[in-house]
């Protein structure tokens, strides 16, 4: 039993079977990578975990509770945070405001008509947000509009926003896609630090093998909607089935 248990999950898009009978268990406080060629169904699987898609069959249990049929915000409140392939941040708001929103969401829940207080007198929220900004090395950018950040900083901010909610499971969809080498390495360091300092489970989808092998404790290889193998990183390297999936049958 892991913190997240996916059982017999299938998802069709019309005639296309994007996921067929996926079984996956992610152990608590581990870093689990999901890799596979383009179109393997990795993002679809992630979408089924966070309520963006509802699988046709199967079950998804988080910490013993089913997530199926719940909306994204409810699943987030259960303790699952997600970082998107292209950073999803509040572009019109300042970095500090971006960081405060998840802290408010954690403290006040999914909705609170909190109009009597003023944002700048919510000292506990401000302190927590400042703390995360410092952890992210972004404190000097707190007054900048989020949309004006560099791509790497946007990603950092988004990861920070997810972390400020203190999630139990953090899902990352290709966090380094389109990043320069230096930014990628920064992100690796950041995730390593997070993993060392917190009780957190991380599931990461990634094409960049350097990232995968630097972080993952377990790897699942997905191809054509089915998990091929799941094992430790060393055993995945050079696994014949993995090569086959990536290079095609003829390869």
């Amino acid at each position: 039993m892991g913190i997240l248990d996916v059982k017999n999950v299938s998802k069709r898009f019309g005639g296309l079977k994007a996921l067929s009978d996926v079984n996956l268990s992610i152990k608590e406080n581990s870093v689990h990578a999901i890799i596979g060629p383009n179109g393997a169904g990795k993002s679809t699987l992630l979408n089924c975990l966070v309520g963006k898609l509802i699988p046709d069959t199967g079950s998804v249990m988080f910490d013993g509770q089913s997530v199926l049929g719940r909306s994204p915000y409810e699943i987030n409140q259960m303790g699952i945070s997600r970082v998107f392939q292209t950073p999803e941040i509040f572009g019109d708001l300042t970095v500090m405001e971006n960081m405060m929103i998840p802290v408010f969401a954690r403290r006040d829940g999914a909705f609170r008509m909190h109009a009597v207080a003023m944002v700048n007198t919510e000292t506990d929220v401000i302190e927590q947000a400042e703390q995360v900004l410092e952890d992210m090395n972004m404190a000097d950018k707190r007054h900048m509009t989020a949309a004006s950040l560099s791509r790497g900083d946007k990603r950092r901010l988004e990861i920070g926003m997810c972390l400020s909610q203190q999630p139990r499971l953090l899902l990352l969809d290709e966090p380094t896609a389109g990043m320069a080498r230096a930014d990628t390495n920064n992100t690796i360091d950041l995730l390593k630090q997070i993993k060392d300092e917190r009780d957190i489970t991380i599931a990461i989808i990634e094409h960049d093998m350097h990232v995968v092998f630097s972080l993952a404790e377990r790897i699942t290889v997905l191809a054509q909607g089915t998990p091929l193998v799941e094992d430790e990183p060393q055993k995945i390297r050079g696994h014949p089935k993995v090569r086959e999936a990536y290079l095609g049958e003829s390869g």
């Binding site: 915000y73 987030n76 999803e88 941040i89 969401a105 109009a115 009597v116 944002v119 700048n120």
Partner: protein, 407 residues
């Protein structure tokens, strides 16, 4: 002050001063001079400034913060007016119960319509609100519900008016001299006006205006508090990125619905005040053109800014008043210095932009603002302010460079 930071307090004080001194500020020209037609310090016009200011402030809480563009907010203003007039007919001519009921009714209708329309966003939401408002207009205009229940509710196209036979349980149906009693605040008559002659100038201080002005300042203060509250931050987050909001554990619908209800209550308040100044209510207040007007006010002034909607409302109502008053004779007078043929031509052209053609002028003004100042009048003000501070900085820089060699 009242929990506001220094900048917001200053803004509130400036607005309060402008509003309280409006009878002077809006009447800069002597009463008999040719320029007197540009004066705007008349009670009914000043009342319209602040009442539409309230309407736009409320609309801005929905549109400016969450980005949901409603094209049906005049409906809530309309029901507020009807509710207030009914209160005058049934209960008392004191405006307080009327205004309270107008706010509640505006909020209830907004809750119902918002609950349905907020299932969609973007253009679909706008169209839905427009459809609902037109339905309500049609119902009011044909007095559909009144015909159904047997007694008139909206009095159809004539509009709802006071009569000498109204019960007015806590007041009197008619005054001793046989006329309809006047709207008042615990005996202070809304119409009572103090006239002050200062040389050639005439200033009018109307009780109704000052009552509306105080209500507007309270409404403005509350909107500042909403803007600066955690709730306001969430509304801005809705506008910025709904996807991220969902995946941050926040339920968007109750936020947008609350904003919708608040703006509906502001609209109801504006409608109630309108009826308090002039106790009648007609369906035309709910027309889609009236809904469009508040959209124009908010965008023209600067959507999402605190003061923008108030400026937009003042701007539109002022120019509406000035431009629609100008007629052919005035134009001939203005352009009489031109040669005859040219004068006729210029007047012929200008005619289309004044009087009932005022909407043409409004359209052009609106286009100019949206193209050159997408942030509205507030952005214009900031640009001018920026120009000055840059000049100041430049001055200081040049001073600094001048003193350097001397050291």
């Amino acid at each position: 002050m009242f929990g506001l930071d220094k900048k917001d307090t200053t803004l509130l004080i400036i607005v309060a001063l402008l509003v309280f001194l409006a009878p002077f500020l809006l009447n800069p020209f002597p009463a008999d001079s040719a320029m007197a037609q540009f004066n705007a310090g008349y009670p009914d016009l000043m009342q319209r400034f602040v009442i539409f200011g309230i309407f736009a402030i409320g609309f801005n809480i929905l549109f400016g913060l969450t980005g949901y563009l409603s094209f049906g907010h005049a409906a809530f203003l309309g029901v507020g007016s009807y509710a207030a007039v009914w209160m005058f007919k049934l209960l008392t001519m004191n405006v307080i119960p009327a205004i309270v009921l107008a706010v509640i009714v505006g909020g209830l209708f907004a809750a119902l319509i918002g609950y349905i329309t907020l299932r969609r966003s973007g253009i679909y939401f706008s169209i839905l609100t427009l459809a609902f408002a037109q339905m309500m207009f049609a119902i009011a205009y044909s007095d559909l519900i009144g015909r159904f229940v047997g007694t008139s509710i909206t009095n159809g196209e004539t509009g709802l008016q006071l009569t000498l036979n109204d019960p007015r349980i806590l007041g009197e149906s008619a005054t001793p001299d046989g006329s309809i009693p006047l709207t008042n605040l615990f005996g202070w008559d809304m119409r009572s006006t103090y006239q002050m002659d200062v040389g050639a100038w005439l200033f009018q201080f109307n009780f109704g205006y000052y009552f509306c002005a105080v209500v507007m300042l309270i409404a403005f203060f509350l909107s500042i508090r909403i803007f600066r509250s955690p709730f306001g931050l969430m509304l801005r987050a809705v506008k910025s990125n709904q996807q991220r909001m969902n995946y941050t554990g926040l339920n968007i619908r109750p936020y947008t619905l609350t904003a919708f209800i608040i703006s509906g209550m502001y609209a109801g308040l504006a409608g109630g005040l309108m009826a308090s100044m002039d106790p009648l209510a007609g369906a035309e207040r709910m027309q889609w053109t009236a809904s469009g007007e508040v959209v124009l006010m908010t965008i023209l002034g600067g959507a999402g800014t605190l003061i923008g909607p108030v400026l937009g409302a003042g701007f539109i109502k002022y120019f509406e008043n000035i431009f629609s008053k100008i007629n052919e004779a005035t134009l001939h007078q203005w352009f009489s210095f031109l040669p005859d043929g040219l004068e006729t031509f210029v007047v012929w052209v200008a005619e289309h932009f004044v009087g009932s053609g005022w909407h043409l002028t409004l359209g052009i003004l609106f286009m100019l603002v949206v193209i050159f100042l997408p942030g509205g009048l507030v952005e214009g003000g900031q640009k001018i302010g920026g120009l000055f501070s840059r000049r100041k900085q430049a001055d200081e820089k040049s001073k600094a460079t001048k003193t350097e060699p001397a050291e």
